[in-house]
Structures are given as C-alpha cells and as structure tokens.
Symmetry: C2
Subunit: 359 residues, 2 copies
C-alpha cells in the first residue's frame, strides 16, 4: 500500500448540535485535543508521508481542512462540489491517483472513526495491501464484541491464506444492518464481521470493477480524467457530479464484486456513531460523569452523564442518570444515553422546519 485516501465528506448528524453542516463531526475535537481528521492523518504517519495521502472534502470545508492539515500538498486535497456518497468520492480519488501512479495501491479510510490500536491498524492496512496485490478488493472486517444492530456485517467465505500473520478470507456476502436476533446469530456464528468501510485495493482493480459493475461511473469520470490539472478541471468535475450516481461503494461495487476479500481485525474500532458511543469510549467507569468543553458545570446527585459545555455558559444538572447534555452557543441537546440514536430525528425535524441556522 503506497497511498491512502481519507474521506472527510460525512455529516455526523447524530452528533448534533456540535456536528453541524459547517463543521461536521470529523473536523471536531470530539475525543481529545485533536480533531478526528487530524487523528486519522496521524494514525497513518508511521506508514505513509503526507505526500502520499489524498484527502477528499466537500467544498464547504476545504479551507478548514487546509487549516487542520497544513502539511498536506495542495494537489492532494480533492474537493467535491457536492455530497454524493462514497462511490463517486472513491472513483474520483482512484481516477486522480491512476494518473499520478498507475500501479498505486490505495487504502480508503473514513475521517471520523476511532481506532484504539494504532499499530494494529497499520499492520492490518499493510496486510491488506499484500492481499490486494492479488487483485482482491479488501475490506477490514471488525471482530464484533456485541450484536450491534447499527452496522452492516460481512460474512467470510473460503480462506485466502495469511497476510502479515493474519488470515484473510473471500467475502461470502455483505449483510445489511440486522435486527437483534439476526445480529446475535451473526456474532455467535463467528463468521461475521462489522463492515467498517475501510478498504485496500489496487487503483486498477477498483476502477476496473467500477467500469464493469457501474458503467455510468466510467462515463462520468472520463471527462474528469482528461481535464485534470488543466483549466477545465473544475468544470469537468462539476459536470461529472451532475450525472454521477449518488451511491455507496458497497452497493456500487463490493456487494457484486467477485474478488472481494475480508481481513478480520480487532483494533478497538468504533465509528463514534452517537453521543452515547462517544461517552462509552471515553469513560472507564460508566457510573461517573464525563464533562467536556470550555464552559462551567454543576452536577448534583447525577451519575453516568455526558456533558459538553461551551465558553461563558453554565450547565447545571440535578438528579439525573445516564443523561446526555450537549450545550453549544446556540442550541442545547438533552436526551438519555439509550435514546442517543434518535438525535438524527432532531436534525430531520430542523430540516423539515427550515431552521437552517441550527443545522
């Protein structure tokens, strides 16, 4: 693996009201001193210099991305004119990479995930590159530690031998987010892994499969390839983005590909999908309260709370358990930890009500 593509185009609605249209989840310091994007870049550093990292962002966030990753070469920042899900994003990155390095092997990484075991992550990516050299489309499969219903699952098939000391497998099938019973069956079987959306493949392999399985991508991106690094680049990208299918790489390629492989890993991965998840990741003790932010707080007779405070403001909580309070300069969210997934419904309502200033 000699290139990494970081996808930083997500929205993170379930981490509203901190994650907003103008500053989505991956640009926030949710887990510590650095933003999730910065942590993603640093996690790669022992493996790759920044000159080998492509970063794909929405045009609204380009200047913020430059500020957060000042060492990134200008030509390594790919700016999407609009949000189009992962398939167009990956197709663009692969198209650009092929021009610079036709033999490139690329890892694809979301910018907004937590990974506890950095060395394990790097070993997995390096092992994935070995498997990818055989023409496989490699997905990291996260060993599940609970029957989570919020993730897609990957069932392993026939063994593909070892890479870097870890066994790899053909993918038997990709399974959508399951119900509780199905999830338990998956986990108990020992054959299923969480789909983390982390991939390793040769640029030629992914572009070949994209052309074969979703020909409209090849058509849309041919113009981009021809115009890249020319004065026509921006116009070509806009034109391509008008007609490119808005779909995920899983749907466009992985679920139909014959050469999909899964590399099981156990690297302390989490997609930080909600305030409750974030709180769990950071709390050693679920009884204790966890407080973040630059504001003030008073918690009386309160346990298991996650509280975020903003400068100049005070959050006071009395007599609550397992509560989430996220207080920003313009909005405050209050919900129990076991309802944290429903925060996306708040965002839907804000959109439906036209309350753009809070999105």
């Amino acid at each position: 693996m000699n290139w990494a593509v970081i996808m930083a185009g997500g929205v993170g609605t379930r981490l509203w009201p901190r994650s907003r249209d103008q500053v989505p989840k991956q640009f926030l310091d949710l887990l510590g001193q650095q933003t999730m994007l910065q942590e993603t870049v640093q996690r790669l550093e022992p493996l790759l210099p920044l000159s080998r990292v492509l970063l794909v962002v929405n045009q609204d966030h380009a200047s913020m991305a430059r500020e957060q990753i000042p060492g990134l070469p200008a030509e390594n920042l790919l700016i999407e004119p609009a949000r189009r899900n992962t398939a167009p994003c990956i197709a663009l990155a692969a198209t650009v990479l092929r021009q610079r390095d036709p033999a490139a092997v690329m890892a694809v990484l979301p910018a907004d995930h937590y990974i506890a075991d950095g060395p394990g992550f790097r070993r997995a990516i390096a092992a994935g590159a070995q498997v990818a050299a055989g023409g496989h489309l490699v997905t990291l499969g996260i060993t599940p530690n609970q029957p989570h219903t919020g993730y897609g699952y990957i069932q392993r098939g026939a063994p593909l031998g070892e890479a870097g000391g870890q066994p790899a497998f053909r993918v038997q099938r990709f399974a959508e987010k399951p119900d509780q019973d199905t999830a338990r069956h998956f986990v108990d079987s020992g054959e299923y892994y969480w789909n983390a959306g982390i991939f390793v493949w040769q640029v030629e392999t992914i572009l070949g499969e994209l052309s074969r399985l979703s020909p409209s991508f090849a058509a849309a991106l041919a113009g981009v390839a021809a115009a890249w690094q020319s004065p026509r680049q921006a116009g070509a990208l806009l034109a391509a983005w008008d007609c490119v299918p808005q779909t995920s790489i899983d749907y466009a390629v992985m679920e139909k590909a014959t050469q999909a492989a899964v590399l099981p890993v156990d690297i302390g991965w989490d997609d930080v999908g909600s305030w409750a998840t974030l709180s769990d990741l950071l709390s050693e003790d679920k009884q204790s309260n966890l407080v973040h932010g630059a504001g003030l707080h008073i918690l009386l007779d309160t346990a298991g709370a996650y509280v975020y405070t903003s400068p100049g403001r005070l959050v006071a909580v009395v007599g609550m358990e397992d509560l989430i309070v996220v207080d920003t300069p313009t909005a405050v969210l209050i919900c129990p930890k076991d309802k944290a997934q429903a925060v996306r419904e708040v965002v839907k309502r804000l959109k439906a009500d036209g309350l753009e200033e809070f999105l």
Copy 2:
C-alpha cells in the same frame, strides 16, 4: 383596610436560572404576560388605588420596580439598603405609614405569590380588616389541599365570630414546616392552615406588639421615624439597618403575640416555590409539555416537560419524561420535576464556588 404593603425583597433561588440576584422571581413574567409584582398590584386595584400601596424593594431593584409599576407615587416606594427578612421590612413600612395615617389598617402581601381567585382574595383581605379593627393581628390561613411539607402551618383556636361571611379564629399555634406524617395529621385534623405570609392589622397594633415583643425594633426605627422625609432619611435608614435584627415577622411577633387571629381562605393560592409548581399551575394536563420563552424548541418522544427557551437559542429534548429545562442566555438547568426543590442547592454551590456572574 385602607393601605397595602407589598414586600418585593425576596430572592426566589429555586427558580434559578431565570430568577437571579439582579432580577429575582417577583420581577419576572413567570406566569404570563405580566410580572408577578405587576399581577400582585393589579389584584389589589379593585380594592385600593396605587396611592394607598407601599412597595418595599431592595435598592438593587428600585429602578426596575419603578419601571414595572409606573403609576406608583415616588413616596410609596420604600427602598431597603440591604436584605433583612420580613420583620424589619414590615416595621419600616408600618413606621412610615403611621406618620401618614396613624389610624391606618394595612395588608401585608408578598409580591411573588400566585392567587387564582382574585375576588376571593379581595373579600378575604376586606374581612381581615374587620377582624383587625378589633386589635387582632390577622393571618390568612390557606385551606390545605395536600400534606405539603414545604410550608409552615397555623392551628386555629377559639372562634372569633364571622367577618364578611367567613369565620375567624384565634391562633392556637404556629407550626414549623412539618415532616410527612405530621403534615398528614395536620391536614386530616381540619384545624390547620398553610401560613402564606399574608397579614392584615392596624399599624398601631403591629408597632405596639413589635415594641413589646422585640424592643430592639422600636429602638432601631425611632431614628428612622424622626428623620423620614428629611435630608437625614437615607443616613437614618442605613444606621437602623446596621443594627436591626434580621428575622421574620412570624418569629419576631406572630408566634408570641396574644392577639393573633387566622382567617381561613380557599383562594387558589400558591407560592410558586419551584419550577415543578409553576409547571403544575399552568398545565391542565400533566402529560402534555409546557413550553415558555422566546426561543425555539424541538421535543421528540417527550411528555410532561416544562421547557423555557431564550431568544436565538434552541432547546432539543429527546425521550424524556417529567423533565424541567430552563435555558437562559448564560446557563441551562436540567432536572426532573420531582427534584425541583434541589435547585436551591445549585445556587448554594454557585455561591460557594464564587460564580457570581451566574447568580
């Protein structure tokens, strides 16, 4: 009764973070379009012109009081140099009144109570004046509708006949805030009433009893009486306030007086002692959510909530029951309704931590 004295010197800590040192409870529009002080004044209007109303406020709130009650004659606003509980406040008002009208009968009214039945209230005050004409210190006794442990109680004694069609009684004794069992015994006996701190008496009677039972008041206020309406008024008041006992009228006089009387009333009285009480007063249906304030709100899967919002801010609540959220421009309070009394502990903590800007 030909005069009313409205006491507006309270703090209302249990209604933090709206009730603050600079704008306490009685100056807020907690219950509707008008402030509690304005409602208290209007409740009196059919009975008395503003020229017969004295208003006692802390010096920090004098200009706010003038703005809220613009028709009040300047000489009817009594300004306390510092907070000294109800006995000094009432002694000052009675001292000033005696100079203007030695035969005055005065009603004493807190500025921060809710009374549903205005006509009933006025009938009770008028009846109290009849009883007071006989030299009694009259307290309104609120017929209890539950064994409340947050109020003091008054036990009635021998009948004193009727006034305005309502029976009056001598006071047998005043009882401190009881425990639950004692409160239930009080209510079941039919002999006990809540002490609402609403009094009617002749100026001569209260000043006589003050002199007899708490001689230090007479000493402290003699200088004030002599200097009133002279250039020495402010200095005399400051001097008196330095040495006057900081105590309640109940403790200084009522509990020891021989001529105390109680007039039982059922006028929909409430001291609006907490956010939960306020919410109950205003909700016809305890299941429904009650939202106040000029901000925005989104309540999903939430029932029985009281939410106060501030301009330009949004409160979002997901999956909660019987919750109080009070969101002000600088602080947000979150607590279950059944813990609303504990809000005073938050205020204590703020004081202890020196966080004056939030008090």
